[in-house]
């Protein structure tokens, strides 16, 4: 059982980091970023290319992945989402754009990196073994890094000027603008930051699960679920949702194992039942 809980915690730390980026973009721009999973995949492949094939240090690869995704996210916001939001009559139009971007990234990933499953050498070797626990050290390191990133992100949102500006933007865009917050600039920063988080977690996880060009969509769906559990557009909710989903998955896989492959079915059904009781998730704003 300890093993199951530790696995759940480890999964949760990564999931929380994935959900954070998605929820940030949603909070700032009211855009449901379908392409989040694809951004994760891009991050994973960049680390694979730099760390796995060129054998540069892992830190350099991770930084390159974060930077690339931040630039990519910024460009997507500036040239695509901003234009469509300005021109369209209905808010939902951005969803078509987001889906288009997701398909585009999917295609680009397939062309650039191929369809093979890719893995990289372990960053640290060895396994921690005790009475009823087996944890590879690289998993410990990844979980610790993920938690560090989450803490850094939360601290930045709470105590720095851009963080305050973005929180103001999430609360009320017009009011923030009236108070002199440069909303366009911070939308750009926020989108870039959200994309960067996707790249970071993709880069971290390639060291453990590897990466292939087809996992973008499933990752996006998982991220949507976490955001729904916690409540869309709330940082705390995303973190909580990530840990809850990680735990559910880990416990479900071990408990429901006997009944076949129904863990995700059970989670989905539970999620729908939960949402019909609590439509805004655990911490969501009403009708976010």
């Amino acid at each position: 059982m300890e093993q199951v809980l530790v696995n759940g915690f480890y999964l949760g730390a990564q999931y929380a980091l994935i959900a954070l980026g998605l929820t940030l973009i949603f909070a700032l721009m009211n855009v449901l970023n379908f392409a989040h999973g694809q951004m994760y995949v891009v991050g994973g492949f960049i680390v694979y290319e730099i760390y796995g094939r060129l054998h540069w240090p892992f830190v350099v690869a991770l930084a390159a992945s974060a930077l690339t995704l931040a630039v990519l996210g910024g460009l997507i916001e500036k040239f695509l989402f901003r234009t469509v939001i300005r021109r369209s009559v209905r808010d939902e139009s951005t969803m078509l754009l987001a889906a288009g971007v997701a398909y585009f990234l999917d295609a680009a990933i397939l062309l650039l990196f191929g369809e093979k499953q890719r893995g990289v050498p372990k960053i640290v070797k060895g396994v921690f073994v005790s009475d009823n626990l087996i944890i590879p050290y690289d998993r410990v390191l990844v979980a610790v890094l993920a938690i560090l990133f989450i803490v850094a992100f939360v601290l930045m949102m709470q105590y720095t000027k851009p963080g305050r500006a973005m929180r103001a933007l999430a609360q009320d865009r017009v009011a923030a603008q009236l108070m002199g917050v440069p909303v366009e600039f911070y939308s750009l920063i926020g989108f870039a930051l959200g994309a960067m988080l996707a790249g970071l977690v993709g880069g971290l996880l390639v060291t453990i699960t590897g990466v292939n060009s087809g996992i973008g969509g499933p990752i996006s769906i998982k991220a949507f679920m976490m955001v729904m559990i916690g409540g869309a557009g709330v940082v705390g909710g995303a973190i909580l949702g990530g840990f809850i989903l990680g735990m559910l998955e880990s416990v479900g896989l071990s408990v429901l194992h006997a009944y076949g492959d129904i863990t995700y079915l059970a989670i989905f059904v539970a999620l729908m039942a939960f949402l019909s009781v609590r439509p805004n998730g655990l911490m969501g704003k009403p009708w976010g």
């Binding site: 949603f26 009211n30 449901l32 379908f34 695509l80 234009t83 469509v84 300005r86 021109r87 369209s88 009559v89 209905r90 939902e92 139009s93 969803m95 078509l96 754009l97 889906a99 288009g100 971007v101 398909y103 585009f104 999917d106 295609a107 680009a108 397939l110 062309l111 969509g217 769906i221 949507f224 679920m225 955001v227 729904m228 869309a232 076949g260 492959d261 129904i262 995700y264 079915l265 989905f268 059904v269 999620l271 729908m272 039942a273 949402l275 019909s276 439509p279 805004n280 998730g281 969501g284 009708w287 976010g288």
Partner: protein, 324 residues
């Protein structure tokens, strides 16, 4: 006068689909177009359902689930219960409508992206359920579904059995197109009826509509049920054409595509989903020559279209509206 113009346009449109298009296909020997156009017609029906949920102000990314449920319902009825396809078609639609009432009552309380995300998850639920249930044969799916049989009335054969027809693809084409015309005519009539006005009121402001004495929960469940009915019969007819169904016959991608069809055609227009489906499906097919660049070009064009015409293709003819 305007009424007359519209009626003429509708008849002309039906004539193009039922007479001119088959003639052109026969003349150019592009028999595969029958299959392509049948698919477009059936997908357009399902997209029309999604459009109706948009009409009440909900983003529905769950139509793939209902297409799958409808397909399985029809397949199970035909293969396991030995029912005629023609009977299973409306039954599949009604089954989907019943399911959507049960699911819709709780989840239609959600709005905006929450509803969108739950319906997206619904598609995955449908796929996983089909994998897990013994009735649906799991990953093997249901195959070798017999083609639709004859319809007779008082000894006259109205529609011959599809196995007796030499050009089966053409028969399916007529079936799909007639279904599409009927569905969109019904949809058009619905939107321009009192019920349509009530649905529009839901989209504009549910609280206000409720304060005017409308039974908002009942109305939105009704719209969702109609939408799912359309998804169900679309899926059921699709299964009859391909004669097989698997859990992966309709996936999240299809659900998203149904939604995109509506967006691309334009949400303000009943016939938007039809145009959107045609453009997206044919665009995808035509790009087949591009090989590995197919998805890249397709999505690139989609993004460009969105940048140029964020309110849908049909918005070209509408007067430019300024945002307040």
């Amino acid at each position: 006068m305007l009424q007359l113009t519209k009626a003429v346009a509708a008849v002309a449109f039906a004539a193009v689909l039922l007479i001119a298009a088959p003639w052109a296909i026969e003349a150019t020997h592009h028999a595969d177009f029958y299959y392509t156009l049948s698919s477009v017609a059936l997908l357009a029906i399902a997209s029309g359902g999604v459009w109706l949920t948009f009409y009440i102000g909900r983003i529905n990314i769950g139509q793939g689930a209902f297409a799958l449920v409808g397909g399985y319902a029809s397949a199970v009825l035909v293969v396991k219960a030995g029912l005629s396809f023609w009977l299973s078609l409306p039954l599949a639609g009604l089954f989907c409508a019943a399911v959507s009432v049960a699911i819709g009552l709780p989840i239609l309380r959600l709005r905006g992206v929450y509803f969108a995300m739950v319906t997206l998850v619904l598609t995955e639920v449908a796929r996983l359920t089909a994998l897990a249930l013994p009735l649906t044969n799991g990953a093997k799916g249901i195959t070798n579904i017999p083609p639709p049989g004859p319809i007779g009335l008082f000894g006259f054969t109205l529609v011959p059995g599809f196995d007796a027809i030499v050009n089966r693809n053409a028969a399916f084409y007529y079936l799909s197109v007639v279904m599409m015309l009927l569905c969109f005519a019904a949809l058009w009539r619905l939107v321009h009826s009192r019920l349509g006005a009530l649905f529009a009121a839901l989209r504009q402001n549910e609280d206000l509509a409720s304060s005017m004495g409308l039974n908002v929960p009942a109305l939105r469940v009704l719209a969702f049920a109609i939408s799912s009915f359309l998804g169900g019969i679309g899926g059921a007819a699709f299964v009859a054409i391909t004669q097989s169904i698997y859990p992966s016959s309709f996936t999240v991608t299809d659900s998203v595509n149904f939604m995109l069809n509506c967006f691309l055609g334009g949400l303000g227009f009943v016939f938007g989903p039809m145009l959107g489906t045609l453009v997206l499906y044919f665009g995808w097919d035509l790009l087949f020559q591009a090989g590995e660049y197919q998805l890249l070009i397709y999505s690139g064009v989609m993004i460009l279209l969105m940048l140029a015409l964020p309110n849908g293709l049909l918005s070209l003819r509408a007067p430019a509206r300024r945002r307040a």
